[in-house]
């Protein structure tokens, strides 16, 4: 990533708008991801449970193993790419202190935990649904903070 080699990103006339665009798109991606998940898959434990295991009362079939694996596989790819680019930008634009390092670690650990918890919820036990839901919100909120904080530092640092 070329921007890791430029010394003063805030003063660079090309990198400043490019990174602004990346951060704005990342911000909207994170919001859109939660909205789409809310309507298609569920973000709260009750709705996730219905998607994964179906509901006899509402005549909803459980998700097939094949569909679940497709969703999981796609999610892993998108999360890793979004968080890789966001982390690299965040590291470069914010102060390299303990607080930011902690935020970076919690975001990446909770995102990985959400993916592992989702697979465990489907294959092992429904009790992992709560862990998935919590970690999903945690990494989304922290990633939003990382995007906003990077954007702020791009113009104010």
């Amino acid at each position: 990533m070329k921007f890791t080699l430029i010394k003063d990103l805030n003063q660079d006339p090309m990198m400043k708008p490019i990174l602004s665009g990346l951060l704005i798109f990342t911000f909207f991606y994170l919001i859109a991801d939660i909205i789409i998940k809310h309507y298609n898959f569920g973000v709260l434990p009750s709705s996730i449970s219905i998607t994964l295991f179906g509901s006899e009362e509402e005549f909803i079939d459980p998700i097939t193993k094949s569909s679940f694996l497709e969703i999981w596989h796609t999610d892993i790819f998108f999360i890793m790419m979004v968080l890789l680019s966001l982390s690299a930008t965040f590291i470069r634009l914010t102060r390299n202190n303990k607080k930011n390092l902690l935020i970076l670690n919690i975001t990446l650990i909770s995102s990985m935990l959400s993916l592992i918890a989702l697979s465990l919820a489907f294959f092992v036990s429904s009790s992992f649904i709560l862990l998935y839901s919590i970690s999903l919100f945690t990494w989304h909120l922290l990633a939003l903070y990382m995007a906003i904080s990077s954007f702020w530092n791009l113009y104010n640092a």
Binding site: E70, L83, I91
Partner: protein, 148 residues
């Protein structure tokens, strides 16, 4: 290299493993790991009520993978620039091998549906070789970070 960059690379390796696990489970669920199952999936099998895949159908399946394979491979390989293996003959060979394996993995089904049954073996071999190469690259990266 900054400490935070090292963390990011380690997490990326973790995500890569999850990606490999999900790909293996998906392959097993949809196709299967025997040559017969690969042939049935792509060339069809009347006794199992499986239709032969069309070229357009295959293209639809590999379309997102063309971009994803390219991006993922580029990202994981470019981390090697920050290691002591940078610009060595072994790594140059590895770079070519990973990209060629990825291309074979994606294109072999097109030969299979056109009667070249041998490409079912290529499909399986390239799938496992690609996974093994990613594990090997991850090991090189992890080892470099630990040693640094």
């Amino acid at each position: 290299m900054l400490k935070s960059y090292k963390y990011t690379i380690i997490y990326f390796i973790g995500f890569s493993f999850l990606l490999l696990i999900s790909a293996t489970l998906l392959f097993e669920e949809k196709i299967g790991f025997s040559v017969k199952e690969v042939l049935d999936y792509y060339a069809g099998n009347e006794s199992r009520f499986m239709m032969q895949k069309s070229a357009l159908g295959l293209l639809k399946i590999i379309l997102p993978h063309i971009f994803a394979f390219g991006l993922f491979t580029m990202v994981i390989l470019h981390f090697l620039i920050f290691t002591q293996y940078k610009n060595t003959q072994k790594i140059i060979f590895l770079i070519y091998l990973v990209f060629i394996t990825a291309i074979l993995e994606m294109l072999s089904p097109f030969f299979t549906i056109n009667g070249f049954e041998f490409f079912a073996y290529i499909k399986l071999a390239s799938f496992f070789l690609f996974e093994a190469l990613i594990v090997y690259i991850s090991f090189l990266l992890f080892w470099s970070i630990i040693k640094d």
